[in-house]
């Protein structure tokens, strides 16, 4: 399968290792992974902040860049959610590639039927299911299935896991106090697990969680799931 890798602006800029790991995992499974040089940003921030008109060229740019692939995979469920759920409203027209755009773990489990990627990661890990993976792209327990098959990984349950981390894009700045109050509870829940690593499918949420844990002087690392699944 010829897969277009959409790194997303957040991963491209701040979590390049997660994007690289995504390519590694897919290539190991025997797929051709193409990284289009012209790719940029899906425009989710603009759409979510009320700047619909400014998002339109970005959506068109995405389609022009990725329209021809058999599948598009991204290390982010919120960007994928924006593409699948918001583009049809924004563009007022569908496109076959929208349905073929998936977040990594969703693509592996639901698209390819793969639950064991042969990874090894000897750490105590807790998993935060991000809101958009649960309630927009609805990937269910796909990431957990993958994590359960990682050699040496001890998976510990996160209390109140399905609660938001408080990121919410520009919400984290516009409503910083509320965002921080939500984050404080998430960080406490993570600490209570005694995990070494908190993982998730979205870089943006990991930015928030990692930023909170770091400020609290915590030893828990926020690491993207792709990096765990690519570890050997």
């Amino acid at each position: 399968m010829r897969i277009g890798l959409f790194a997303t602006c957040v991963a491209d800029t701040m979590f390049p290792d997660a994007a690289r790991a995504t390519a590694t995992i897919l290539e190991r499974l025997g797929h051709e992974v193409v990284v289009p040089r012209e790719q940029t940003c899906c425009g989710q921030m603009h759409m979510n902040s009320g700047y619909r008109r400014e998002a339109l060229p970005l959506a068109e740019h995405f389609l022009a860049t990725f329209g021809g692939f058999d599948a598009v995979v991204a290390p982010s469920s919120s960007c994928v959610g924006a593409i699948r759920e918001l583009y049809p409203q924004l563009l007022r027209i569908g496109h076959p590639v929208l349905e073929r755009t998936m977040e990594l773990s969703e693509f592996l489990v639901h698209g390819l039927g793969v639950e064991d990627v042969g990874a090894s990661y000897p750490h105590r890990v807790t998993y935060h299911p991000t809101c958009h993976s649960l309630r927009v792209t609805r990937i269910g327990d796909a990431p957990l299935r993958l994590l359960r098959n990682v050699k040496g990984l001890e998976l510990v349950e996160l209390p109140d896991a399905t609660e938001c981390c408080g990121f919410g894009g520009t919400f984290s700045i516009k409503n910083a106090d509320t965002s921080s109050a939500i984050l404080a509870d998430k960080c406490s829940a993570i600490e209570s697990t005694g995990a070494d690593v908190c993982t998730a499918v979205d870089g943006s949420c990991l930015l928030q969680i990692g930023g909170g844990l770091s400020r609290r002087g915590d030893r828990v690392q926020a690491i993207h799931i792709a990096e765990i699944l690519a570890s050997r």
């Binding site: 790194a7 602006c9 991963a11 491209d12 800029t13 701040m14 390049p16 994007a19 690289r20 990284v35 040089r37 012209e38 790719q39 940029t40 940003c41 425009g43 921030m45 603009h46 759409m47 979510n48 902040s49 009320g50 700047y51 400014e54 998002a55 060229p57 970005l58 740019h61 918001l86 409203q89 809101c131 958009h132 649960l134 309630r135 927009v136 399905t162 609660e163 938001c164 408080g166 990121f167 919410g168 919400f171 984290s172 700045i173 516009k174 409503n175 910083a176 106090d177 509320t178 921080s180 109050a181 939500i182 984050l183 930015l207 928030q208 990692g210 930023g211 909170g212 770091s214 400020r215």
Partner: protein, 468 residues
């Protein structure tokens, strides 16, 4: 209708600073949330019920003009007097006129958000008429001059010790215990005599059946039923969106509502009445059909689904924002996610432009909503309107600049390079600890992961790069 007097971020910051409120809210919303999840999971056809509720409400909105006339006709045939009120002032005037005609110095009230919306109590007070709240929680707030912070449990921000102290200073000077049963008994003794003396009762309605003219009030205490049955005169104020087409449609909503709101399988006190009946209950029934901005909401194709709301408050209890800030931060009688989409539409986006942004877009409200209101979608729709209605030149410029930069990969790479240069003096042991405004809002409580030394796409496609 109450208009927020400050922005959501300002109000939220104040409310978040109250640790007692945070604890009370966390406990209360957590308890109701768990109860709701349990009883919803019991029903194998819950999703089908939600679909039915959503479809019935969509049908009502599409045919509201004829349903309202049908409702009016049925009410009149059953002996009720129907009044139409364009806004809150007109509705309040109608209630005041009825009370004055019957020489009532006090009216007893069923808990009703619609009467809160039109600020009925304050308006009646201007006419020298006292409106007595008879719902336990509403009574607490009234005695304390406070206002509701939750649709269903208005005094959710109060705990029982605070309530005992309040009662001691007001209706029950001898009270010592803060045991819930003792508190309830004190309120009961106080209210009973007032029910018997009242000449006029005032209610809202959860549902109005267009086919039969039946009104329905759903409550837990029985005090509402006292108000709708004991006084000889009853005035019911009904938002025009509260209709259902037929009596049989109640079957859907009377399953959806209690499970979503209190987490009960069946509602304790469900009162239904149709017009007046000789020798039984009130002998004079006035029904006030209230618009107060609703037809304007109806005009908006995306926003109108906010009118489907049956006021269960499930979206409040699951909301990460509401469960931290509480209802007062929303500055409206309609707090939480539903308030964030309903209030700006009812009073105009320019009067509440920060409310649609009071959400992390986590989507929990949409999943919990018994009539499937797509709250995140309406929030985005209203954010767009808010951006157009308010002037934020700095933000607009930044958004445009980022849109321009992200439209081409080459520009995005330049932006990344610039960020890399700018962040250099700010990085301390691998993280950015402090940023200038507006990004200081982030670094006040969080560190920031810096921009990587080289972007993934730039590195992955390095061999393709050609000098331009």
């Amino acid at each position: 209708m109450r208009t927020p007097s400050e922005t959501f971020p300002q109000a939220a910051a104040r409310e978040l600073g109250n640790p007692q409120l945070r604890t009370n809210l966390g406990n209360a919303t957590g308890t109701i949330r768990d109860k709701r999840a349990r009883v919803v999971a019991e029903l194998p056809d819950w999703q089908a019920l939600r679909d039915a509720g959503s479809a019935i409400k969509a049908d009502v909105m599409a045919g509201l003009d004829s349903y309202l006339l049908q409702f009016e006709e049925a009410l009149q045939a059953a002996g009720a007097t129907v009044h139409w009120a364009r806004d809150g002032a007109e509705a309040c005037q109608i209630v005041a006129d009825v009370a004055r005609r019957h020489d009532a110095k006090e009216v007893v009230k069923v808990k009703s958000l619609t009467t809160d919306e039109i600020e009925l109590n304050a308006m009646l007070a201007q006419h020298g008429i006292h409106a007595l709240e008879t719902d336990f929680a509403e009574l607490i707030l009234q005695l304390d001059g406070d206002w509701s912070s939750h649709i269903l449990v208005p005094a959710i921000h109060r705990n029982r010790t605070e309530i005992r102290d309040l009662f001691k200073n007001t209706i029950a000077p001898d009270i010592e215990s803060d045991d819930p049963a003792v508190l309830a008994e004190a309120a009961r003794l106080y209210l009973r005599e007032r029910f018997l003396d009242a000449k006029v009762g005032v209610s809202g309605a959860n549902f109005g059946v267009a086919e039969t003219g039946t009104l329905c009030v759903v409550e837990s205490e029985g005090n509402g039923r006292m108000c709708t049955t004991l006084p000889p005169v009853l005035v019911s104020i009904v938002g025009i969106e509260k209709l259902v087409p037929t009596f049989a449609d109640l079957e859907v909503f009377l399953q959806l509502l209690p499970r979503s709101s209190t987490g009960e399988r069946m509602n304790p006190y469900t009162s239904l009445w149709t017009g007046v009946t000789d020798g039984d209950g009130p002998q004079e029934l006035h029904v006030v059909l209230l618009d107060n901005g609703r037809t304007r909401v109806l005009k908006d194709e995306i926003g109108r689904q906010a009118l489907h709301c049956i006021r269960c408050s499930a979206c409040l209890n699951v909301c990460p924002v509401y469960s931290r800030t509480g209802g007062h931060a929303y500055g409206s009688v309609y707090p939480g996610p539903i308030g964030a989409i309903l209030t700006p539409q009812l009073i105009g986006i320019e009067n509440a432009p920060t409310l649609p942004f009071a959400s992390s877009l986590c989507g929990a409200c949409y999943d919990a909503c018994p009539v499937k209101i797509d709250i995140p979608r309406v929030l985005l729709h209203l954010r767009e309107q808010a951006v157009q209605a308010t002037s934020k030149p700095g933000e607009r410029l930044a958004m445009r600049a980022m849109g321009w930069a992200f439209a081409r990969a080459s520009r995005m790479r330049v932006a990344q390079r610039v960020a890399r240069q700018l962040q250099r003096p700010l990085i301390k042991s691998g993280m950015i600890r402090r940023l200038p405004p507006p990004f200081s809002a982030w670094t006040r409580t969080r560190d920031l992961r810096p921009v990587a030394k080289i972007g993934f796409v730039e590195q992955a496609t390095a061999e393709d790069e050609r000098p331009t």
